[in-house]
């Protein structure tokens, strides 16, 4: 029997962490994005095809908060890209497992992209597979794997999903 029971304070902490994540990546606060993860975190952006076929390649695959900081720097300083807004709409987490102070959950998301002088489009759709835990600084992602359905990336992905 897998334990999926969460008391209300922990469920609230989980949903607030997810809400803070969306707020950070939609307001272009990349430093805040990095700080929502543990130091030895995992962040992966994976095509559903690779995920389901057991192929290890990811579109982005980070294995530490340092790598996230390198991405934040790249977005600000090194990647040429068309400016755009993004907006995450995130579902309610389905709790899959609660054990050893960690919560594993799965949450659907859709991300809209709006470029200057352009119509808003559906940019990337998928689900988050998360492992979150409580640290002395608060709740953090130990792992966030974004498995996206979207078959074709509309040119490029610059900001974190």
């Amino acid at each position: 029997m897998i334990d999926t029971a969460l008391d209300y304070p922990r469920f609230l902490a989980l949903t607030q962490l997810q809400a803070r994540y969306a707020a950070a990546v939609d307001s272009a606060d990349w430093d805040a994005w990095c700080e929502l993860f543990t130091d030895d975190c995992v962040y992966r952006l994976v095509p559903r095809e690779n995920h389901e076929r057991g192929l290890p390649l990811a579109t982005l695959s980070f294995e530490s908060k340092g790598m996230l900081k390198d991405r934040a720097y790249a977005i600000r300083e090194t990647l040429f890209h068309d400016p755009y807004y993004q907006r995450h709409v995130v579902g309610v987490p389905l709790v899959l497992r609660v054990a050893d102070g960690r919560i594993e959950c799965e949450t659907h998301y859709a991300v809209y992209r709006t470029k200057l002088s352009e119509l808003t489009m559906v940019f990337n759709v998928g689900r988050y597979l998360d492992t979150v835990l409580e640290t002395p600084d608060g709740w953090r992602f130990a792992s966030r794997v974004c498995v996206y359905d979207s078959e074709m990336i509309p040119n490029s992905i610059i900001y974190p999903i």
Partner: protein, 420 residues
Amino acid sequence: MDDPGTLFPPAPVWEGSGTSRIPFAVYTSEQLHQRELERFFYKAHWSYVALEAEIPNPGDFKRTVVGERSVIVVRDQDGQVRVVENVCAHRGMQFCRERHGNRKEFICPYHQWSYTLKGELQGVPFRRGVRQDGKVNGGMPADFELGQHGLTQLKVATRAGVVFASFDHTVEPLEDYLGPAILAWFDRLFNGRALKILGYNRQRIPGNWKLMLENIKDPYHPGLLHTWFVTFGLWRADNRSQLVMDAKHRHAAMISTRGAQGQAAQVTQVASFKPDMQLHDARFLDIVPEPWWGGPTAVMTTLFPSVILQQQVNSVSVRHIQPLGHGAFNFEWTHFGFEDDDAAMTQRRLRQANLFGPAGFVSADDGEVIEFSQSGFASKPFHRALAELGGREVGDTDHMVTETLIRGMYRYWREVMEAP
């Protein structure tokens, strides 16, 4: 330039016989695009379709495209790789909808016409009619021959695990098509070791398909557009380099060896060079030289018209160009490793893959600039682009400060497209 006839020219107008000034109109016309499909993708050329490691077992198939035509790459029961067009002989339906899988035969769901893996029609329901009340109703005409109605079969060539196909059965042998100079660089990457598929990335780039080849025939931009390349010395104008073409100038290899990473005269006096930049996590660039490199740390090969072979330090991939009309293409990346890679090398290739693909620290830029070149072309198709770095001639070089490979590709383009 006030005459609307010249502002929107019906065909590209070249300045003289050279190719250092490329009319925007070569990127903006659907009619010209169809002519390109016919002459480059459907006749006399080979297109990349698969790696054999994607279809290791009899019956394994992969659906992909040659140009804009859907094809199925399949290993038949004898172990031979076959390529057949995904269009049923009966009603033209593109019957294969899965992108990969395993089949004993192909069956079109519409009327259950069935084909062998080689594409031969083996059965048609009600061919002899349906018996009812003592008479036979319908059926195919007596002279209907199964042998006349198979799937379109493509000519197939494989070399060291890479599969090419052509609708044109008179196409020259693959080795002649690539030519000895390019074949040598092909064989360096694909030297007979079994490949291990690591996975896919797919992006749709709203630009003309030729721009992707030009991007990888342009050694000028990487040290300027891509901060990571110039700052970490992976690709910059003072790296020891070599540019090589086949005799027809349609294919090319850009070969470069990582050199200095510090400041150096002109090459680091560019906005993208960041002398103080240091990675928080250096594992992105945990580069370990491999024996098969034979020196060069990066070799980027364009095999006209359909594929790019990538070696950038430990990251290797094939990038398949799949046109979608004149203004867009799908770009499919297949990253791989080799059967003898240990776990650490596989991990290294996967980490370095963060530099490439549609979100890569380096490659994300390339799709963006292609999109905005295409926007510029579409807005004023009477104008032309410049490719005059290193002169106006076409030839191999021992440096990378030149756009000779782009000029070479358009010399070939003009030879083929301007022929009667």
